[in-house]
Amino acid sequence: MSAELSADIVVIGAGIVGALAAQRLARQGASVLILEAGPRLERARVVAAFRNSPFKGNWMAPYPPSPWAPHPIYVPQDNGYLKQAGPYPYPAEYIRAVGGTTWHWAAQAWRLVPNDVRIKSLYGVGVDWPLTYEELDPWYQEAEDILGVAGADNTGSPRQHPFPMAPVAEPWAMRRVRERLAPTYAVVANTVARNSRSYDGRPACVGNNSCQPICPVNAQYLGINAVEAAEAAGAKVVPNAVVYRIEHGAKGRIAAVHYYAPDKSEHRVTGKQFILAANGIESPKLLLLSASDKYPNGLANSSGMVGRHLMDHPSTSLTFYADEELWLGRGPQSPSSINTLRDGTFRSQHAAYRLDFTNISQVLNVTNDLIKEGVYGTEFEKQLRWRAARQINVKNVLEVLPNPDNRITLSSEKDAMGIPKPEAHYSIDDYTRRAAEVSKADFARIAKLMGGTGLRYSADGQFANNQHITGTMSMGNDPASSVVDAFGRTHDHENLFVCSTGVMPTAATMNSTLTGVALALRTAGHILPAKNTHAGTMHSGHEASLA
C-alpha cells in the first residue's frame, strides 16, 4: 500500500455536483481532495472522436469506458455493465471520467416548480421533501450564477433575482412552433446552462448543434468547468482512483476511503468530512459495497433505503412532418418546451409532464430512414432535403413516483477490477403510463396545429430513458425512511454527506442537474458556512441565515 493521502474534505466523484461542492469548500480554505474513478478527457479529443465515430446517433460513442472504471454502453451492443433485473429495462447512461456525465448533457438547467416538493400533501402521491422551494431558491440562484444559466421568467418556477443572462436566441424552427401553437399551447424558451453572451470567460453559443455529445466551444457549462474551478480554488483531483470501500470507525464516523489505481494497487485516503458524489447509481453501489460487521447492509443504510426509489424520466414521443420548412439543426439542440403541464390537480391521478421540442438536426435520422426504405436514385436527394426540412419531434418528460422496489443493487457479476457491477430493478407504473396516454392527445393537437403528416408515435408501452438518475439516496427527516437529512448528511454517519441527484426524494418533470447542484451547494454551505462567495455570485445574502 502506498503512502496515505489526506484532506479536510474528501469528495468521491468529479462530476458537476461533487466538483461544485468541492469548489465551494476549497474557497472556504478547506483542503479538498477529489477522487475520480475515470480518466481526464480533453474536449478536442472528444470532438474528434465524435466526428470519427460510425455511430453519430449514439452520444456515448465518444466516451469509451476505461477498463478500470467501466460505464454502461449499449451501441453497437450492450457491454453488460449495468445489469438488468427487470421487469422493465433501465438502460441508464453515464460517464465515469473527470467532469462526469455533463460532458454530454443538453445543459437544461431547470428549477422545480414549488409544488413539486409537496406532492404528498397536495395530491396524495409520492413524498414531500424535507425542505421548501423557498429554502432552495437562493441555492438555485447560486448554482445558476456559477453555471451561467440563460432563461425566462415564464416557465412556472418563481425566483427572487434575475437570471444571469437572457434566454438563448430562438431558432427559426422554434419560433414557428411557438407561433403556430399559440394560443393553444405556450411554447417557452428552455432554461439552459448555455451562454447567450460571453460569461465567466466562456463565449456565447455559435450553434454547433452538438450540445450532446459535446459542445466544442465551451459555450455550455460542463462538469469539467466545475472541476477546473475547484482546482483553481485549491482542490486536488486524483483521476483513475476507483474507490471500492468506505471505511468507518468504531462509532460510525467515516475514517477513510480505499481506492484502486488502474494497476489495482490499493490506496487509503483519510479525511475529516467525506462527500459521496459518484452519481445515483455508483454512489449507492459504493455504500452497499462498504458493508461491514457493524453495518451488514451497507453504510448509511439502517433504513434499508440505499439504492431504492430509483427514478428517472421516461419519454414517449411523436415524430412528423410539418407543412412548412423548419430545418431543425440551426442553433442549439434543446431550445423550447411547453411547461403548463408540470403541475395541476391532475397529479392526484396521473404524472405531471413537460413537453419538449428538439432542435437536433434531422439529417442523420432521415438519411438512415431513406437507406432503410431503399430510396435510391435522384429521389434520395429530393427526399432527404424534403424530410430534413420538415421533420419535427415532440416528446413528453414524465414524472415517476418513488417506489422502493425500483432500485440499484449489487450484481453477482464483477467488473475487471473485481468490483460487483450495479444491477437495476425497474418498472414504470400506471401513474406514469396514464400520463403518457394523456399526452398523446397533446401530441395529436400539436401535429394538427403544425399541419403534420406522416405521424409516427413511439410504440405503445415503449419508453425512452432520459438519464436523470434520482432517488437512490433520498433525503428526508425520518431516518427510518430516508438515507440523508435535508442537508445531505447521512443519518447514520455524521461526517458522511451525499451530493447527488440521488438525494432528490421525487423526480418531478425537470432535468435534475440544477437541483442536484443547488442541493450540493447547500450541503457545502452547511459543512462550512461561506465567508466569501464564488466570483460569479451576485446574490449572496442567504449565507448568513445558514451560518
Binding site: P76, N209, G331, T367, F380
Partner: protein, 175 residues
C-alpha cells in the same frame, strides 16, 4: 417517379461530355443505365476496377458528380470489408443493365427475390450518404463533412460540431 424527367433535368446541367472520358464507363452501361446517369459518363474513372463501382454509386445516390478521391476511398473501404466486392458490384450493374430496374424499385426487387446482392445497395449507400462502412463492431467512419448527408444540405446546415455562425445567426428563416 418520373425518372426520365429527372434524368433529363440532370443531363441538362452537365457540360458536354468529353468523348475520351465517356468511353471509360460507356462499355459498362446499356442505354438504360446510361440514361440514369448521363453526368457520370463525363467523370474520369482513374482505375479500371473503379468503373463499375462509379456507375453503381452514381445510380444509387442519383448525384450529378461524385468526388473522385472519395470514390477511391469508399471503394477501398468497402472492398476491404466485403468479400467479392468487385464481382458483386459488377453483377449488380449487370442486373440493372439487363432488367432496366428503376433505382427506387431496386431494393424491393432484390429483397423480394432474396438475392445475395440484396445487402449491397445499402452498404454502398451507407458509405456515400453517412460515410460509414461496415456494421456493428466492424463499423468504421470513413467520411463525415464530405458524406452526402452533409453535402446535400450544406446550403442550410453545418455538420454537427461545426459552428452555424455568429450568436443568433439561426433566428432567421432558412433560405
Amino acid at each position: 417517379m418520373a425518372l426520365d424527367e429527372l434524368g433529363s433535368v440532370a443531363a441538362n446541367r452537365v457540360d458536354p461530355v468529353d468523348p475520351s472520358r465517356r468511353r471509360l464507363l460507356a462499355g459498362l452501361l446499356t442505354a438504360y443505365t446510361a440514361s440514369l446517369i448521363p453526368w457520370a459518363l463525363a467523370q474520369p474513372a482513374p482505375r479500371a476496377d473503379l468503373r463499375a463501382f462509379t456507375a453503381i454509386s452514381a445510380i444509387l445516390v442519383g448525384r450529378q458528380a461524385l468526388d473522385a478521391a472519395q470514390t477511391v476511398r469508399l471503394y477501398d473501404a468497402l472492398a476491404a470489408t466485403h468479400p467479392n466486392f468487385a464481382a458483386d458490384v459488377q453483377a449488380l450493374l449487370t442486373l440493372i443493365n439487363e432488367r432496366h430496374i428503376d433505382p427506387l424499385q431496386l431494393q424491393g426487387v432484390l429483397d423480394g427475390e432474396h438475392s445475395p446482392l440484396a445487402p449491397l445497395p445499402r452498404s454502398i449507400m451507407s458509405a456515400w450518404a453517412l460515410g460509414v462502412v461496415g456494421s456493428g463492431e466492424n463499423a468504421r467512419c470513413v467520411a463525415y463533412e464530405t458524406a452526402l448527408d452533409a453535402v446535400i444540405v450544406v446550403d442550410v446546415l453545418k455538420p454537427p460540431t461545426y459552428a452555424y455562425g455568429a450568436y443568433g445567426s439561426w433566428t432567421g428563416k432558412p433560405s
